[in-house]
Symmetry: C2
Subunit: 191 residues, 2 copies
């Protein structure tokens, strides 16, 4: 819980009382490696702070999994289009490692916004960060070659290339694992 | 200015005093058709409310313009990655019709957040909406065929198909104008 409070306090001030309130609003949750935080067809009812571990977002297109996004330690994970609208998700979110979370429901997040002095400010700045990250991805799909997308992955997710299976990274870049091997070889040779 | 106040009040309550403050923070601005709200290499210094008119977002890739997004009446326009970071934009935003705007600077928006009772709440909910819209687009690039993307365009931008030149719509869908003509013909025949 210390890490969550510290992350919140990079955005806003929290009084001692407010720290206790935050602690009462979040619930601890563990996911085994391979377990799902969210499945297709279900409504995303939580935002979670990742204390430890790693998740991937993917979509199942006619039996083919397409990896779209990753989140790891000190980040928040949620599928906001479902969380904000209450509509069923078309995405999965799956733990790739044993993952420790602190989760908050939609109702409790509203309580956070309303009862923490700078709660709305935290919400505004948090969603700004998530939005910028999504925009960087959107741009990358418009304009980047696979090699640029892989380099962008290394920049966006420092340290994760060693923790994520290569076929998930290839799927994220939008190429076959063999093509990713060639790109990685090329990058190493350029160094 | 009435329309801007009305849009803000769909999200939050404004006292009479706060309405005056809002009016003092926004400045009226006119763009001729073809004029730029933002150019590549410049920092996006404003968020604007569109009172009347229409803009497109595009990127110049080696001399080829690629249209990415549109905004029209009662919507806010800004290139947030540049506006929020202060870094130069890699996008253009151009008026497609004579366009009436109310613009606010970054500094004045901070003043809005800090001095309107529910200012931060408005910021949080506004950016949530912009984020959801960007996510729908990102999803569409992952999964949709050109025909699905065109249908999504018609849903996302009701009434704009008649106001936007076909070659910009084709560019947005990611196909040649001739291919768009064929898709439109198919859709009409299906009705």
């Amino acid at each position: 819980m210390e890490a969550l409070l510290k992350t919140i306090k990079t955005y806003i001030a929290l009084s001692a009382e407010e720290e206790l309130l935050v602690q009462s609003l979040f619930t601890e949750r563990h996911l085994d490696a391979g377990a799902y935080f969210l499945e297709e067809g279900k409504v995303c009812r939580h935002v979670a702070y990742i204390q430890k571990g790693l998740v991937r977002y993917f979509i199942n297109q006619d039996g083919n999994e397409r990896t779209m996004y990753f989140n790891s330690e000190k980040e928040f994970v949620s599928y906001y289009p479902s969380f904000l609208s209450g509509l069923p998700s078309d995405k999965y979110i799956q733990a790739l490692e044993p993952t420790e979370l602190f989760v908050i429901t939609r109702e409790r997040l509203q309580h956070f916004y309303q009862n923490i002095g700078e709660g709305e400010k935290f919400g505004r700045m948090g969603i700004e960060q998530v939005f910028l990250s999504a925009m960087r991805q959107l741009d990358s799909f418009y304009t980047d070659t696979p090699e640029q997308r892989y380099r962008q992955f290394l920049l966006s997710y420092p340290g994760l290339a060693q923790r994520i299976p290569q076929y998930y990274i290839a799927s994220y870049v939008g190429i076959k694992p063999q093509s990713l091997s060639r790109i990685r070889k090329r990058i190493v040779e350029k160094r």
